[in-house]
Amino acid sequence: MTSAIHSTHKGSLLVIDDDPGIIESLALHWKHKEIPYNIIFSETVEDALRVLATQQVDVVLTDQQLPDATGLFLMTEINRRHPLIKVILMTARPSEETRLKALALGAVEFIAKPFDLNTLDSLLLNIRSIKHVGFSGIIYQLSLADMVQLKCSTLARVKIILKNGPHEGILYFDKGSFIHSKLGGLEGEEAFYQMFSWQRGQFEEHPYLDNPVKNIKRNWEGLLLEAAQKKDEILISSDQDFDSLPPQDTTPEPLQGDDAWNETKNPPDENAVINLSTFPDVKGSLISSRSGTLLTASLDENPNQAGALASFLVQQGECLARILREETTQEVFIETVLEKRFIFPRGQNLVAIHLAPETASWPMRETFKQSIKSSDS
């Protein structure tokens, strides 16, 4: 059901909450305290989307738990259909996960119930002066791969104009997909591959209302893989170095705050590595954080690179786990002509064991794990 409070001021606020107490409280408050919005109340996401399709709305204040869907789902739809609307998400059960998801979807504010009505008023007054949600500025050395990943992962509906000297290409993103690309006479994937080979350039991001023909068939992950391989082949054939490739170093930044503290709280690390070195098959071992920060190592190779590799393999494992509806990776085993590596989690950290290629390592997996456990105890 939809109801409304009209004033003569400009601006329109859509409030979505199925709690009659909240609706009554807000309506009563705004009846006596004027704010520069015409206010529309909805109780469901379906009703809210109907309002958004038929009326001009500037700001949405939505509850997270609604009868027919979540506020986050509504935000996704707003991003897709009405990207210029500013959204405030409110919830009686605030969590860091919900807050981060809301901010990733572009929420202007995330507020926990119960909240002070005067604070909400201030927020609603200030929100109108926000021209754009998010940061603005200049980003140096942002690769096209980064840009595609960012736009797809945030479900953005935007077009990006990419410039390189006299050349100008355009990329369209919609609802988590990269849908259209054009560069001069080239269209689709070929246009993107051409732009991907550019070493530098400028970009502008804009919302769009037109409906470009979908000329990108691959999913964005496959497209980036293909583009990276094509670019690699070009560079190898032209004998250039690899520095100009999109960043593929998977070593993340060291964690800050609580996570960093938790990651350093494993004092028996050195003992564990020493114990592993007593096995004849073990060439070396290390313990790193899940983000690749090296904690301790006994290796005959670059330990930072080995730690980064272990982190990379486990991070890819977490992606595979999500696809298979698993919670987490329990073990990784990798074999090349030169070596074998066995990697497994140890609390917040990772253990990576480097083995000789001729090692019959498979039966030793549990032994290695037991060795680490005994070090911990």
Binding site: G222, T250, Q316, L320, E326, T329, E331, F333, I334
Partner: protein
């Protein structure tokens, strides 16, 4: 279906075996409940991983992930790759020589 894929599919506990190329495109697969979309997503990720590893280090010949309820294996022969998803307790390594 390749002989190798066929061999893998016959191991007890194997739910699906398939072959994919260096771009993650599925070439052949055994009959299973896994959709093409899921296998394609996994193949793309594995192909990407193999590409990154080769670029930074060396060519992967064998890769195994163990999860709580599944295990995933992939084998790279330089041209086409073969992968399988199996029950968590399937004896894949033990069923193959040379691991």
């Amino acid at each position: 279906m390749s002989d190798f894929q066929d061999t893998l599919a016959k191991i007890d506990g194997v739910q699906v075996a398939w072959t994919y190329d260096t771009r993650g495109n599925i070439r052949s697969k055994t009959i299973s409940d896994y959709t093409d979309d899921i296998l394609r997503e996994i193949s793309t990720l594995l192909a990407s991983l193999a590409f990154m590893h080769k670029k930074n280090s060396s060519t992967i010949s064998k890769l195994h992930y163990r999860f709580k309820n599944h295990q995933l294996w992939t084998f790279f022969d330089g041209e086409n790759y073969t992968a399988l998803i199996a029950d968590e307790d399937a004896m894949i390594a033990e069923s193959m020589d040379g691991l």
